[in-house]
Each structure stands twice: as C-alpha cells, then as structure tokens.
Symmetry: none
Subunit: 192 residues, 4 copies
DNA sequence: CATGAATGAGGATTCATTCAT
DNA sequence: TATGAATGAATCCTCATTCAT
C-alpha cells in the first residue's frame, strides 16, 4: 500500500468516525479524542488532515453532500418526460436515504442546526441544479405548478428526510410499497 | 407581585434564554453560565428549577411543544368537513411558524438532532391526536389517501418547517400568497 | 475572615506562585496547573481572577513594579542635595534588590524577554519620574553629566540588577561593603 | 559544494533560525517545527545535529558567545596602557552590540532567563579572561578600583547591553556621540 | 429561594520527539 | 543523511455542577 493510499485511508476513517459520532451524539458532544480513537489514530493526527474541528465537520459535510448528489444524479437523463425525470431523481434520493441512512441523517442534522459554516452550506446547495432545471422545464411545459422552487423542494424532496428520520427512530418502516406511495404523494404535490 | 409569580418569571426567563441561545449556537455550544446571564440569574439558580442541563432542555422542549399544540388546535372544530378542518389546523401551524419562528425553529432543531431524550420526544408526539383523528375520518370518508400517517405528516406538515428554515436562512419569504400556494400543495399531496 | 479578604488572599497567592515559578522555570515552562497547585486552588479558579495566562503575568508584573517603586521612593525627599537624593534612591533600590530578590529577579526577567505586553511595559516605566526629575535638577546645577537619561540609568541603576543576578547565580555576594563600593561606582559614573 | 559544507550550512541555518525566533518570541514560544521551517529543513533533521531542543539552544548560545568574544578580543593587544586596552575592548563590545544586535539581544535574553543550562553558562564566562587579566593589571598598577570584578563588569560592560535593549525597544538611539559618552561613563565608573 | 465563588473533569489544540522509508 | 508522517503527553482553557452563605 502506498503512502498516499494510507493517507487517504486515514482521512476517510476520520470522516467516517465523524459521521457516526455526530449522528449519535451531536457535534458538540463529539470530542476530537473519540473521533481519533474510533479512527485508530492519535488526536494529533487529525490536525494533519484538518485545520480544526469546524473544518473537519465542514469537509465531512461537503464530502457527504458530494456522495449524495453524485449518487442522485448518476442515472439521470435530461431527455425524458418531466415525470419520468422527476421519478428517476426522486427514487435515487429515496434509495440513498434508505441504503445510506448514516449519510442522509448526517446531512439532515447539518441542514437543521448551526454546526455548518454558511460558506460550506452554500457550497452544498449548488449541486441540485439538474433538479431545478427539470422543474423550470416542467413549469414551462405546464406540467409542474408555477410556484417557488423552495416550496416544490419542501414538499417533494424534504419529506423523504422526514420519513428517513421516522424510520431511524423506529416509528416507521420504509418498505417498497410505502416508498411508492410516498413517491406518488410527492408527485401529486408538485404536478399541475 | 407574589413570590410564586417571581418564581414563574424566573423559570420563564430561563426557558426563553435557552431557546434563544440554543437556536443561535446549538445545545452543546450553549453554556449554563450564558443561559443564567441572559436570564439575569445566578448559574446556581438554574438548578433550583431544573435538575440539570438535559432536564432544562427537555422541559423547554415540552413547554414549547405545548405552546405549539395549544395554539394549533385552539380554533379547531371537529364538526367540519375534512378539508375545512385540515385547512384550519394547517393554517394555524403556518401562522405559528411565521409569527413564533423562535419557537418553531427550536422545535425543528430538537426534532432533527439527538439533543432531546426519547421519552420527551414521545411525550411531544401525543399532542397531535386531533389531527390524526381528522385523517382517520378522512380516510374512512375516502377523502384522504389511505396511507401511513407518517407519510401524510411528512408531506403536509413538515414542509412548513422546511419553509420556515429557508426563510430563517434568508433564502425565501413566506408571504400571504406563498402560504396559500403552500397550503394547496399540502392538500394536493394528501387528498385522494 | 471576610469573603473579600479570602478573594484577595487567593489572588495574592496566585501572584506569589507565578513569581516563584516563572523565576525558576521561565514563563512558558510554567503551566497554569502548577501555579494553581502552588497557590492551593483549582486551575479553573485562576480564571476567576485573570483573563488568561498573559493577563496573569502582565498583572503580576505591574503589581511587582508597583511594590518596587513604592518602596524605592517611599523615603525620598526632594529637598536635598543631588548626591544625597540619589544616594537615598539608589540605596533603596539596592535594598529592594537584596531583600526582595524574588521580586527584582522577576522584574529583570520581564524586562529582558518578550513575555510582557508592550502596554504593560509602558505602564511600568512611568513610575520612575522622581529619579528623572532629580537628574534634570542635577544637570541644571552642573552636578550630573549632561547626557541621556538612558545612559545615566544604564550605568547607575541597571548594574544593581546585574549584581543581583550574579548573586542569585551564587557567583557573588552583596555585602554591606560591596554595596557601598557599588554605590560609589554608580555615583562616579554619573557625577560630573 | 561538498557534503560537509552542506551539513555546516544546515547547522548554521538552524542556529540562525533559532536566534531569530527566540529573539522575537522567547524560547518556549519557539516550536521546533517553526525553527525547522525557517531553516528549510524537516523537523526530524534538527535531531541529526542537536540532541534536543535544550541542546540546540545551548549550542546556539555558545556559538554566539564565541562569535562575540572572538570579535571583541580580535584587535586586542596586551601591551598597551590599561585605559587604551580597556577602550579597545569596550569599543569592540559596543560595536558588536550595535552591528550584531540580533546576536547581542540573544545573549542578553539567555543571560537573564533560566533557558540556558548552568554548564553552558559557565562555559560562556571563561572567554572573558583577557578583560579580567587587564583589570588585574589595572588594580595592581593602581589605575582601576580595587573592587570585585563582578562590580567592574556590572558597571562598565553590562550597561552596553542595557543601551542596546533600549535601542531595540525604540526608546533610544546609539549614535557615535552617544557611544563616546557611554564609554567615558564606563571609564569613570571603574578608574581609580 | 438565591447566589457568587469554587472546582474537577474534560475538550481542543500544540509540540518535542520518533520512526519508517 | 534526510524526511514527512505520526504521536503521546502536555497545556490552556471551559463548563456543568456544587456549596457556603
């Protein structure tokens, strides 16, 4: 194994540990020492890869966000009907939320608390462009309601996170059937 | 002013300070000393009213949640059509989110992080019963989709919080017109 | 013992400990924990009395400097001959350096290293005014060499510190006879 | 360039960096990593040339002290009158303090704090022998006061450092004229 | 009830030093 | 010889909590 690979491994281990611990305890209840222990490095080593705790969380956020959007738009094809395109994206988002719930829970927590820098948050928003483009086209074609993207997003995308949270808390089970219902509900909410 | 009143005032001041500080800094970045200072009491005094920091936050959560449900169901009348009943509740929720955004932001933060005890969280859920009853009736009457309450909630209620968050971040403005669009979208998502 | 007295005692104990430890180990080799231990308080207690380590050393410096000048000019009388006045001041300085060598060594160390803030250093210089006034009169009367005060100071006052340092290192003993010789040497260097 | 030369260069770079950083920040506020960076070597490399941080400072001290005495006694000739001999030495010391103030400030700092080992300090004192010999002759001839060498040193040599410090702090300017006054003052203080 | 002073435990971060290469 | 990566042991400082008054 090369030196570079070992470095990357260590950085990844740190990010993984950060996600797990912040998910379970919150940012401020997650000491650097625990992150180090879980990643099998010395606390001092963290500072070779990250400037400080805030930087560690910011970078973790951006890394996870990138994984998220990469996955979400990976299968997306612009040349489809609005509904098909939306379904493609929505179901990938759902799949990510179900299969990578560690990641999606982390994102949710970051999005709803003041633990992330505003710059990093802004950086994370950019990635959704394809979905916004799709909605623009949908509005032009009279298929999607002519309302603010924020409303469209709040009603068709955010609920997936809510359901994921409910599942994490053991209140609810996201089955195949459930997911289909949820998708149709999302579509009902934004279609014209 | 009676002694009892003075006590209640102090307790209220502490809860108010907790909300403001947790909203701005997060739970663990909010020291007891700052809460005390903002409430104009000694740190030691907090422990006359609350067992410890966790208890303070739990009680704050329940208190705010109670304010929330009291407000939301205050004007509710069971003897209306499903849609009217839903609109009544939904708009009160929206009104609360807009006018008392300190409170609703606090609830959102609690709902999306591990800072609240599971027992307190469970306690907070109970209060929604009238809405669940309404949905049950709606499903029976064939007006509301026959799907899990969690999905209904995720699609028709949670988005209000999302929009409130967006507004708090300055990305979005909840106007009268906007709110009406949002309501119709909510209804579209759950109506059969 | 009153509460206030206990507070003052603690502050004094901290300053005493700071002097002793910095004298023996230097500023940066003196951890707050050791200062606390020697003063019989918890490390956290230091921060009730001082903002941080730098502030602790700055305040210690000023406190010692004040003790120094208070002592030095305590017996001074303006209405004497130049030589008598100078002798009065010089011998008090010598006495302080001999009897309170902890204090004078601390001052010397502060004066010769970058551990004291510039503002605190400036603050400490002010106190020497009576000596400067005496020299002014001496120059006017043609008794003192008409050269820079800095030179006068370097030759007549600073050597006392040097001798104190030598004594501390065990190389030299400041006896009565020695001190008299040193005084005459000082006078020879500045008298016209 | 030979391998040996490269080694010497590195050692010199390290010593130079040590002087500059200790002068500006003090011994303990000067991390090995910064010294390494300023000398353009790896931190690990320092340990090829020096046993540890203390050894690095000790050796730096001795090296500078050697430069100092080499310079000071370079032009010295034993076969002169006491006054001429003293003037020769004194003016070289002054010249060194003015032209190589980085070096002399470093020496002053070492001489007034506990950062140098006692052995190294002792080692550094030896070099002054020619001056002590001169004073011995002067006392025998009845030209120099029959008092302790420590007093002679404190009054005629140390003040140069004091003036250099004052100059470094920007309070005072060591001009030609000033220096001459200072020399005469030094001579007045020790001559019989 | 109310408090200011006090603190032990713990957290982020730094640093002298080592080690595999 | 030279190094960059790695680290354990501090170090400064904070904070939830207690206690004497």
């Amino acid at each position: 194994m090369t030196k570079l690979q070992k470095s990357i491994d260590k950085r990844n281990a740190l990010i993984k540990a950060t996600i797990e611990l912040v998910n379970n305890n919150g940012f401020h209840a997650t000491p650097m020492s625990k992150i180090a222990k879980m990643a099998n490095v010395s606390p001092a080593t963290i500072y070779l890869y990250f400037e400080n705790k805030q930087d560690l969380v910011n970078q973790t956020y951006l890394e996870v966000k990138t994984k998220y959007t990469d996955f979400v738009f990976n299968t997306y094809d612009e040349n489809t009907s609005i509904k098909t395109g939306f379904e493609l994206i929505w179901k990938r988002i759902a799949e990510f939320n179900i299969n990578e719930c560690e990641y999606s829970f982390f994102l949710t927590q970051c999005n709803n608390t003041p633990i992330i820098d505003e710059p990093s948050r802004q950086e994370g928003i950019k990635h959704l462009q394809p979905l916004l483009d799709l909605w623009k086209r949908g509005k032009d074609e009279g298929v999607i309601k002519p309302i603010s993207d924020y409303i469209l997003y709040a009603y068709s995308i955010n609920p997936i996170s809510s359901l994921m949270m409910a599942q994490k808390l053991g209140q609810f089970q996201l089955t195949k059937a459930n997911t289909e219902e949820a998708f149709l509900t999302a579509w009902d909410s934004i279609k014209l």
